[in-house]
């Protein structure tokens, strides 16, 4: 059987339904399942990757041609992001393997798998309402996982997330509704062709709804109040999924819709503006954080701001740079969350203050944190450098020096607070002998990420050559319509 994009959804779902039964047999089996699933999916996506880069694979479900049935649109962009998601997903699973020691383990793995699958679905689907469904899958899994540790703060964070998340889904659903009522269709490609049927006023309203609804998922300021709480209170691997995968999916959804339906210079300007706002405010807030994971969360928001800016520029170069940045951020932020997870675990405190001396006590974990910090600041020879460079190049090409300087201001702030944390790690201090070690699976997971980060940093061409088709796919609405409606 040839690998088909629908398997990205079907297999994890199948596995998720299977997990409770496996749970009856053995816990180990439960733990292994997501790993096997993601490994298989990564394998499949790598197989499928070159094909999708050449020409979008449009897969219909239930045998009805779009726009009548739901179709999955596995274009270059989706392929790029999904491959990233599956690989990162696998690594995060590897990390979770020993990290999650709290019952109910099988529930954790089900939710975890569904969280990633939901994101994959958002990236994959070619149907507007179907996207809503996947959005909800992601959200509900996310709410539950945020509160997974069942502590005071986790529940609070999850509730806030849910509150804002409900707004997101409501707004999105309303926009679907308005679009459907005028165009009579739900398929993206079909809608894009008929978008002019919507009267301007309603169209504007839809735009507002989509921007706000998806802006919440994409952590746009000021819609991101939930994000720092959720990131910091969720278990670390889940934080990594949020920062690395979920938010990317949300952003992709927003950008896909905007680029398909509303790509006007004004909207792009607006995106740039929001991106800058998001970037700067998040970085400034991150600077003053005392908790390491909260700091990472704000940094994530800031990075999303950067990506939004790059997408808002909307040129070929900037879009590929944005995709590259997404890729890097997924890897690097995961690495940071991984390391931070164990650092918090070892020090027994979430405060940055209390990390003193861990650099000597837990050298490897701290080392990985340092690598991640350097990489996310955009220092060579790590991969973050290239994407930041490309973004800046594209911004400069667009001729907006003010934006360039604002981005760099953000980067400077980012550099300072990350290094503060790193330096804190390596402050000499007697730490009580801690027999707990970072388990090997966690180290391997971090090692894989760090290796990829370094490899891509030294040979950016590996990723870079795929960026052009991916960006083209995202930018070129006409091609999308043609392929989507075959």
């Amino acid at each position: 059987m040839e690998f088909s994009p629908v398997l990205y959804i079907a297999i994890p779902l199948f596995a998720a339904f299977l997990i409770p039964l496996l749970g009856k047999v053995s816990k180990t089996l439960v733990k292994l399942t997501p790993g096997i699933v993601f490994l298989y999916l990564s394998y499949g996506s790598i197989l499928l990757f070159p094909k999708a880069m050449e020409k979008p694979i449009v897969q219909v479900v239930a045998g009805f041609k779009p726009p009548f049935g739901i179709s999955l649109y596995y274009g270059a962009t989706a392929a790029f992001l999904i491959t990233m998601v599956t690989i990162v997903g696998f690594v995060i699973w590897l990390y979770s393997y020993k990290f999650i020691i709290r019952e109910p383990i099988e529930k954790y793995y089900m939710l975890f798998m569904m969280l990633i699958t939901g994101s994959t679905g958002i990236l994959l689907t070619g149907d507007m309402f179907n996207m809503f469904v996947f959005l909800e899958i992601t959200s509900i899994a996310a709410y539950s996982l945020t509160a997974f540790l069942r502590d005071k703060d986790g529940a609070e964070a999850a509730f806030k997330y849910l509150l804002i998340g409900s707004f997101s889904s409501t707004f999105y659903l309303l926009s679907v509704m308005i679009i459907y009522s005028y165009t009579g269709t739900l398929n993206f490609a079909d809608i894009a062709g008929k978008i002019d049927l919507i009267p301007p006023m309603a169209k504007g309203f839809v735009l507002v709804l989509v921007l706000v609804g998806m802006g919440i998922e994409a952590e746009m300021f000021p819609l991101n109040g939930w994000a720092p709480d959720a990131y910091s209170q969720a278990p670390s691997p889940v934080g990594a999924v949020f920062g690395g995968i979920v938010v990317k999916a949300g952003l992709y959804a927003m950008i896909r819709i905007v680029f398909l339906f509303f790509k006007t210079p004004e909207v792009m300007q607006f995106l740039i503006f929001m991106g800058i706002l998001t970037l700067l405010i998040a970085e400034m807030a991150a600077m003053r954080q005392h908790q390491i994971k909260r700091m990472l969360a704000f940094s994530s928001i800031g990075q999303m701001g950067l990506v939004i800016i790059a997408l808002g520029i909307g040129t070929m170069g900037s879009t590929s740079a944005a995709l590259f940045q997404m890729f890097n951020h997924a890897l690097i932020k995961s690495l940071l969350f991984f390391a931070a997870g164990y650092l918090v675990f070892h020090s027994g405190s979430k405060q940055i203050e209390d990390l003193e001396g861990l650099g000597y006590d837990k050298p490897v974990t701290s080392f990985f944190f340092a690598v991640g910090a350097l990489a996310i600041i955009g220092l060579p020879p790590f991969s973050g450098f290239w994407s930041k460079l490309l973004i800046l190049v594209s911004v400069a090409k667009a001729g907006d020096i003010a934006i360039l300087l604002l981005i760099l201001t953000g980067s400077v702030i980012e550099a300072i607070y990350y290094l503060r944390a790193v330096v804190k790690l390596y402050t000499r201090k007697e730490v009580p002998d801690n027999v707990r070690r970072t388990p090997i699976s966690g180290l391997v997971a971090m090692g894989i990420l760090a290796a990829i980060i370094l490899y891509v940093g030294l040979y950016p061409g590996v990723i870079e050559k795929w960026l052009a088709p991916a960006a083209n796919n995202l930018l070129n609405a006409a091609d999308y319509i043609k392929a989507g409606l075959f």
Partner: protein, 226 residues
């Protein structure tokens, strides 16, 4: 203060909201996929209930997601409430009348639920509705009997097997060389009980699953979770 701001903001949103909808034609037929479905459903899927056909077949993928959402809600609730100690139910048990009536209604409600989902492709209703009805029955029992218990094990099995059935049916379609969730059974005559290919199978699975999940949700909220 907060209220005033909220009212002001919502008033503005509401004004423009209504403004948009006021220009939307109401009660008129519209072109689009809806029309296509009305015209072709019976021919293509063999289901008399167009909504069901859309839900299970045309947009079956949505439904799979929907089932997953529910499944996740149940799982998530289990995870969130894991280890919660059950509230001591201080209220005294229901009266004999309630108890007896519930006992008598319960099988009938379950039966009704089963009916609704089995006939999902023919009549209004379907897996979700049926499942919800079944869960209502269970709720009835929960309310009237202090010590009414459902078997977690059984719920898990039902949930999983139903879910697996859905996914497997979908995968069979793919395996047969067509597409995921592709119908591979004969369509039969519309309006027959055994018709519409895989739609009844899926809807029955959904019915079981929804019933079990909602029951699980109720149970989770009420009881100690282990």
């Amino acid at each position: 203060m907060r209220k005033a701001i909220a009212i002001l903001l919502l008033a503005i949103v509401g004004y423009y909201f209504i403004n948009v909808f006021i220009h939307m034609p109401f009660g008129e037929k519209r072109e689009g996929v809806g029309k296509y479905y009305l015209e072709n459903t019976v021919k293509e899927t063999g289901a008399a209930n167009v909504v069901t056909a859309i839900v299970v077949s045309y947009r079956g993928f949505d439904t799979l997601g929907e089932v997953t959402v529910l499944f996740l809600a149940a799982t998530g609730l289990g995870a969130i409430l894991f280890g919660k100690r059950g509230e001591k139910r201080r209220l005294q048990g229901a009266s004999v009348i309630v108890k007896t009536t519930s006992m008598m209604l319960y099988p009938m409600v379950v039966l009704l639920g089963a009916y609704v989902f089995v006939h999902g492709h023919l009549t209004p209703g379907g897996g979700f509705q049926g499942g919800a009805i079944i869960a209502t029955g269970v709720l009835l029992m929960f309310m009237s009997y202090r010590h009414f218990n459902v078997s977690h094990n059984a719920l898990t099995w039902i949930e999983s097997l139903a879910g697996l059935t859905f996914a497997t049916v979908g995968l069979i379609g793919l395996a047969l060389g067509t597409t995921f969730l592709q119908n591979f059974l004969p369509l039969g005559t519309p309006n027959d009980l055994v018709s519409a290919g895989i739609i009844p199978i899926i809807y029955i699975a959904v019915g079981f699953k929804v019933g079990a999940e909602l029951t699980g949700v109720l149970d989770n909220m009420l009881k100690t979770i282990r």
